[in-house]
């Protein structure tokens, strides 16, 4: 029984992993763009971005998934996005907002003097960002980002509200067949994934330990 259950759970794990990695792929750069917007010197843009971030961070991800999937059809009678796509969009937007706040904290914690030192050495803004501040920002954001990654692993289970068949769904489907343990067994899969992430993040922290 263990092997067929494991195989079917791995199928759900596939969807979970796909959602996890695609969310990171899109949300990490989008979060950076949003963080620049939230620090913009152009006040209306800054307010707009900060309001959006507040709404997204302040409301449940589950509702956001429901709105993005059902919203177009309910409000405008438009055709819906494919379920997985809708889930991905909700996750990317939600996590990009969380990431943007982490980026913002990281960027703002780099001392002003670092920018100024770059400026007086004749560096361009992109050069200062990529050659001077970026690595310092990364060093500062690795621990809070790591927390978000682990949270994301577990949040992926929310997409089953719009019938995206991820890991927990697969585990739950056994309940109807009278088997309870597969649901609890899914926790092992999450533990393995978050365990691997924890190791990778620790290694990264160590790698960045060479400077202060």
């Amino acid at each position: 029984m263990l092997i067929p259950v494991t195989l079917s759970l791995l199928e759900g794990m596939g969807t979970t992993l796909k959602l996890f990695f695609l969310t990171l792929l899109f949300a990490l750069p989008l979060g950076l763009v949003i963080s620049f917007g939230s620090m913009s010197r152009f006040a209306p843009l800054r307010w707009l971005i900060q309001t959006v971030v507040w709404i997204i961070r302040g409301s449940p991800l589950m509702i956001q998934i429901l709105i993005i999937f059902y919203g177009p059809g309910l409000l405008f009678g438009l055709p819906l996005l494919p379920r997985f796509t809708a889930a991905l969009v909700a996750f990317v937007v939600n996590y990009a907002c969380y990431f943007s706040e982490i980026y913002r904290g990281g960027i703002q914690s780099v001392p002003r003097g670092q920018y100024e030192a770059g400026q007086v050495l004749g560096m361009t803004k992109p050069q200062i960002f990529f050659k001077v501040t970026l690595l310092q920002v990364i060093k500062r954001i690795v621990p809070p980002m790591g927390n978000e990654f682990i949270t994301l692993v577990k949040d992926t289970s929310l997409v089953r509200v719009i019938s995206v068949y991820e890991l927990i769904w697969m585990g739950e489907s056994y309940i109807k067949k009278g088997l309870i343990w597969p649901l609890f067994y899914t926790a092992v899969f999450y533990l393995i994934l978050s365990g691997i992430l924890t190791i990778l993040l620790n290694q990264m922290e160590k790698k960045l330990d060479y400077f202060q």
Binding site: A117, V120, G122
Partner: protein, 255 residues
């Protein structure tokens, strides 16, 4: 012709006026010390020269070319400012070394970036020039160290090498020893003194009166954003004319 001419600089932060009608000039190979209590505007003046602040009035000319004129927007183009900055080098009070780079990388980074853009210099020759600079700073054996592995005095000497690497026309020091423990100020002052002996054009904002008198060809005393007195160190520091200068100097009489 003076290498630097500063004319009628004025700077406000909001409603506060921090610099009023600042004018002075500096000759090639000379060292200028700016003294004055904290809040007198001397750091702001240095920051104006390095385009970290933008004066509200006045103009700045280097080697006869006007590089900044508050009345002429053409002299304030963002794309031009970068190039103009290279006339000046700035050594910060807090060093502001890049923590993720070694001492040598700190010295060579900006020059390598410039060489990449403009072509010309090879990486090897930049590297070699950087190493030579560190030797001049007495840091030959510290090239591979990261800033946090260096003492404050060593860090500041790396910062001086970093500024020199770009061959600025005028090297500015913003209270270069204020963040250092007293026993470490000597090594930094020695380096600056030797630069003065090699006829490096310098502006030094400092609280070290004895040092200012020894090293400078010219001294400016500032108070409340205005130049109160300027001239040779023998005049300004040893025989001040103005009451405010005397008061200020009397606080350092025991040094």
């Amino acid at each position: 012709m003076s290498i630097l001419e500063v004319n009628h600089i004025e700077k406000h932060f909001g409603a506060t006026r921090v610099l009023t009608d600042i004018s002075f000039s500096l000759e090639q190979g000379q060292a200028l010390s700016i003294i004055g209590s904290s809040g007198s505007g001397k750091t702001t003046l240095l920051r104006c020269l390095n385009f970290l602040e933008r004066p509200d009035h006045g103009s700045i000319a280097v080697k006869g070319n006007v590089i900044f004129d508050a009345n002429d927007p053409k002299t304030q183009l963002e794309s031009e400012i970068r190039k103009k900055r290279l006339h000046f080098g700035l050594v910060f009070q807090n060093f502001n070394l890049f923590p993720q780079y070694t001492a040598l990388q700190n010295v060579t980074l900006a020059r390598e970036l410039l060489a990449k853009e403009r072509g010309g210099e090879s990486k090897e020759s930049i590297q070699q020039a950087g190493e030579e600079l560190l030797v001049r700073m007495g840091l030959a054996d510290r090239a591979g160290h990261f800033p946090h592995q260096l003492s404050g005095g060593q860090q500041q000497r790396v910062a001086i090498a970093r500024a020199l690497a770009l061959h600025p026309d005028i090297l500015c020091f913003d209270e270069p020893t204020s963040a250092l423990d007293p026993e470490l100020t000597g090594e930094v002052l020695r380096v600056i003194r030797s630069l003065a002996e090699q006829k490096t054009t310098m502006i030094i904002v400092t609280h070290e009166m004895a040092f200012a008198r020894d090293v400078a060809d010219q001294v400016i005393f500032m108070d409340s954003g205005v130049i109160v007195e300027q001239g040779a160190p023998g005049d300004v520091i040893d025989h001040p004319k103005e009451e405010r200068t005397k008061q200020f100097l009397s606080r350092y009489a025991n040094d």
